[in-house]
């Protein structure tokens, strides 16, 4: 018997959906065995996961709050990935966006609320954009490896906030506890239909980015450049400017997400402001096929999984590690199924030719 891996012709949307559904079923099946081993009923655990994510208006709000940064950051990452610029520095860009917005929030709290929030959004965008422009410039000018540069910039951003939190920005009223002061009312995103305004921004961004990526000249140039450097040159695309622009947008959007997290969720700045969501968004951007509408769907499902995962911890007394394991299992199957959308495995039952070895 002999196994071979064969490249598939492009799969249709329908085949893709089928493969995904099979992957999810297998994930649930495998996790089910694990849950059985824990001595619990898998069906009721799954039901309560869904229940935990969508079971009440409050839970839905919580799920949405988790989904907002995922959606926005995924959109930002998608722009860079479309250009095959592997921006894994969203985490740092989120942090720098949050930092710039917080600077205004902490120092200009007397400014009227709409004006201050607008200024914070702009500052957040610029902070992230700057953090995105650094690797873009290095890449465009000297062809440095953007993966390494964006990754390292994450740590610089994180350590910078740590320094501020434990040093110059430490709240003098916190009785020695290392935390930055809470934002005042003026610097906090108001709620709209139960959830902070971030969701409205996310919805607008989805529409804008959809149009940008599919119908704008710049979006077209980014896609062409991503597919073929030579063709882009040949078509008269200004490569240098396009790389910089794409990363300005990518980093800027991530920075805006940072502002939203600081202003709408944490209501202050701290070292956990991004909390790994910049990395998670890479997964959601990729699973969403870098397409804005799909990114929304994937992000919401992902948020639901996280939310449901924490719910079953309290409902069934499952440990946090076990809940993570279930999440990981689902992710593993879904990401792994990507292989089957590109290749198929052929099994030959005939015996291969006998080798005449010398």
């Amino acid at each position: 018997m002999q196994f071979r891996v064969v490249r598939k012709p492009d799969v249709t949307q329908k085949q893709y959906t089928v493969i995904m559904l099979i992957a999810i079923s297998l994930a649930l099946l495998t996790s089910g065995i694990f849950i059985l081993l824990l001595g619990l009923n898998p069906i009721s655990v799954y039901i309560s996961m869904v229940n935990g994510a969508f079971g009440s208006p409050y839970r839905i709000e919580q799920t949405i709050i988790l989904a907002i940064p995922l959606v926005i950051i995924s959109l930002g990452i998608a722009v860079a990935f479309k250009m095959k610029f592997w921006n894994i520095g969203a985490e740092g860009q989120v942090i720098m966006g949050a930092f710039c917005a917080s600077y205004l929030a902490l120092n200009y709290s007397y400014v009227p609320r709409p004006l201050l929030l607008l200024a914070m959004a702009v500052a957040g965008f610029l902070g992230g954009a700057l953090w995105g422009l650094i690797p873009a410039f290095l890449k465009a000018r000297w062809d440095t490896n953007e993966t390494i540069v964006t990754l390292m910039l994450n740590y610089i951003a994180l350590k910078w906030i740590t320094y501020l939190q434990y040093g110059p920005w430490k709240d003098p009223n916190s009785l020695g506890f290392p935390k930055i002061a809470n934002f005042t009312e003026n610097a906090i995103l108001p709620k709209f239909l139960g959830v902070h305004l971030g969701w409205v921004i996310a919805v607008i961004l989805v529409v804008v980015m959809y149009i940008f990526m599919n119908h704008s000249k710049k979006g077209f140039e980014i896609a062409v450049l991503g597919e073929s450097y030579n063709t882009a040159r040949y078509a008269g695309v200004n490569i240098f400017r396009t790389i910089l622009f794409a990363m300005l947008l990518s980093g800027g959007i991530c920075g805006l997400a940072g502002m939203i997290q600081a202003s709408g969720v944490a209501k202050t700045l701290n070292v956990d402001i991004a909390g790994g969501v910049g990395f998670t968004a890479i997964i959601t951007a990729w699973l969403g096929g870098l397409k804005p509408p799909w990114i929304v769907l994937v992000s919401v499902l992902f948020a639901a999984m996280v939310q449901g995962g924490s719910f079953i911890q309290s409902a069934f007394g499952i440990s946090a590690a076990s809940a993570s394991l279930i999440q990981a299992m689902i992710l593993f199957f879904v990401l792994g199924s990507d292989f089957f959308t590109k290749y198929r495995v052929v099994i030959n039952f005939e015996r291969p030719a006998l080798k005449k070895e010398a």
């Binding site: 492009d10 077209f220 073929s228």
Partner: protein, 507 residues
């Protein structure tokens, strides 16, 4: 010839890729001591069939017999053990090793200990087949012809008695081709079987003993050379009668559109790749460019499209010096460049995008505002499909799924659609079958009559001599001559391609 005397016999071979039956119940018999040519259009299944004989692909169904015994290959190693070796178009050699090291590479026997012994064995093979290879020479120092000879030697050393050559002459000069044919005849004398894949009718008629014509995955017919002629073979290949001659349209004007003066450029390593190139092209003229692969054709094309940094010299387009302008400015002035690289897709097209987006590539600069307009591009795509007879499931189909010929037509169609005044086209018929070639020559002639100046870079001397008004020969980044295409001979072109200056001949 009946089945019994066939040394290699492939029976009822079927291979399916996705939904395409690349070979559909193909049969092939090759005798010992025979040069057997495989002839067919693009997509006829020649390479697929040979890849199965050499163990690269595994047939979905069918049987392969060698010397009467059935064989099943699951890797090229199995095939070479059974005596089947294939020389691919792209050589599989390691540049930084010597010829000897390349031959011994991957052999399991103790390499260092027996080097002497291997060397004598290799020398014996060289004597037997009259191969001339300097075993101590590094591959990066070798010419294309030398590399090919080395590939053949390597394959013979590994025990090949059946040698498959996939379009071996595509990269050779006429002189090197003569050398190759000498080697092939010698192999035949030594009772080897040689399978020769080619598009070039004259070569097939010169060297082959028997010819098998394939069409669309089927074996059409096997004929002894003496019993056939190019006209018949072409008709079998295409499936209908066809006129083979390349038409030459008389030159239209004497108005010089492009003057290139003392054009110099250096590559990234600082080596001069264009050494003072000078030529003119008139409106309504086709100037051919001949040269061994890598003589500066690519750099010249790119320089003329604003894509390659020019160190010195002038590109005067209608009197305006374009040196230092951006590619976009070249495009807006009516210069169109289409370069078909070896992989056919490297420049000019985006494989994963559909026809509309690929056409948009040359149009979107003219769209006003921030957004692109796809409707006009879609209309253009339909137009080009009709005009050039492109086979595609639709305009929204990724072009990478089209066949090579159709992809090239998309590129050419788009470039012509921009109504250029100067059309630079490099290898537009690379790897295409005769039918499509003729179609493309017709299109170029049409453009010529419209008064477009055409720089036509090609490998095939027949097409250059048949289509062009004048031929410029470049060798190692230098112009070795600009000659009248009607008067020059292939031998003269070949000598100039190797660096001999034109004035050494009385043309």
């Amino acid at each position: 010839m009946n089945n019994g005397s066939a040394y290699v016999s492939m029976r009822d071979i079927t291979k399916i890729f996705g939904t395409v039956r690349a070979t559909d119940g193909m049969n092939l018999d090759v005798a010992k001591g025979e040069i057997h040519a495989l002839l067919g259009e693009n997509g006829a299944g020649k390479s697929t069939l040979m890849n199965m004989l050499s163990g690269i692909y595994i047939p979905d169904s069918g049987h392969i017999f060698i010397d009467g015994k059935e064989v099943k290959f699951s890797s090229p190693r199995d095939a070479i053990n059974a005596g089947v070796g294939m020389i691919h178009q792209h050589f599989k050699l390691v540049d930084i090793l010597t010829a000897l090291e390349n031959i011994l590479l991957g052999q399991r026997k103790g390499l260092l200990l027996n080097k002497k012994e291997h060397e004598t064995k290799i020398k014996k093979i060289m004597d037997k087949f009259h191969l001339e290879v300097d075993l101590k020479k590094y591959v990066y120092e070798m010419s294309v012809g030398e590399k090919q000879t080395l590939e053949i030697l390597k394959t013979l050393y590994r025990g090949a008695k059946i040698l498959i050559l996939d379009e071996p002459t595509a990269v050779l000069t006429p002189q090197e081709t003569v050398m190759l044919f000498r080697i092939m005849r010698r192999m035949k004398e030594q009772d080897c079987s040689v399978i020769f894949i080619s598009h070039k009718m004259n070569e097939v008629m010169e060297i082959a003993d028997r010819i098998t014509v394939l069409r669309k995955g089927h074996t059409i017919k096997t004929l002894p050379k003496e019993a056939t002629n190019p006209q018949e073979l072409t008709e079998l290949m295409v499936g209908r009668p066809i006129d083979l001659s390349i038409k030459r349209v008389p030159k239209v004007t004497d108005k010089r559109v492009l003057k290139v003066r003392n054009l110099r450029a250096v590559n990234e390593e600082g080596v001069e790749v264009l050494k003072g190139i000078e030529f003119d092209i008139c409106a309504g003229e086709i100037l051919g460019v001949a040269g061994i692969a890598g003589s500066g054709q690519k750099e010249l094309c790119e320089a003329l499209a604003g894509l390659y940094p020019v160190k010195e010299g002038e590109i005067l387009f209608k009197g305006e010096n374009l040196v230092g302008k951006t590619p976009k400015e070249f495009i807006t002035r009516g210069i169109s460049m289409s370069f078909i690289p070896e992989d056919r897709l490297g420049m000019g097209l985006v494989a994963s995008m559909d026809m509309v987006d690929n056409i948009l590539l040359k149009q979107y600069h003219h769209n006003k505002g921030l957004l692109v307009k796809r409707k006009p591009a879609a209309a253009k795509a339909q137009e080009i499909i009709k005009k050039l007879d492109i086979q595609t499931p639709g305009i929204n189909h990724p072009i990478k799924n089209l066949s090579g010929g159709n992809i090239q037509k998309v590129l050419l169609g788009r470039e012509l659609d921009s109504h250029p005044e100067l059309l630079i086209t490099a290898y537009p018929v690379r790897g295409l079958d005769i039918n499509t070639c003729l179609k493309i020559y017709d299109i170029l002639n049409e453009e010529k009559q419209k008064g477009v100046a055409i720089l036509y870079i090609a490998e095939d001397l027949d097409s250059l001599m048949g289509l062009c008004d004048r031929i410029m020969v470049i060798s190692n980044g230098e112009v070795t001559g600009i000659v009248d295409a009607r008067k020059v001979t292939k031998e003269q072109l070949g000598a100039m391609m190797l660096g001999k200056k034109e004035d050494e001949y009385a043309v």
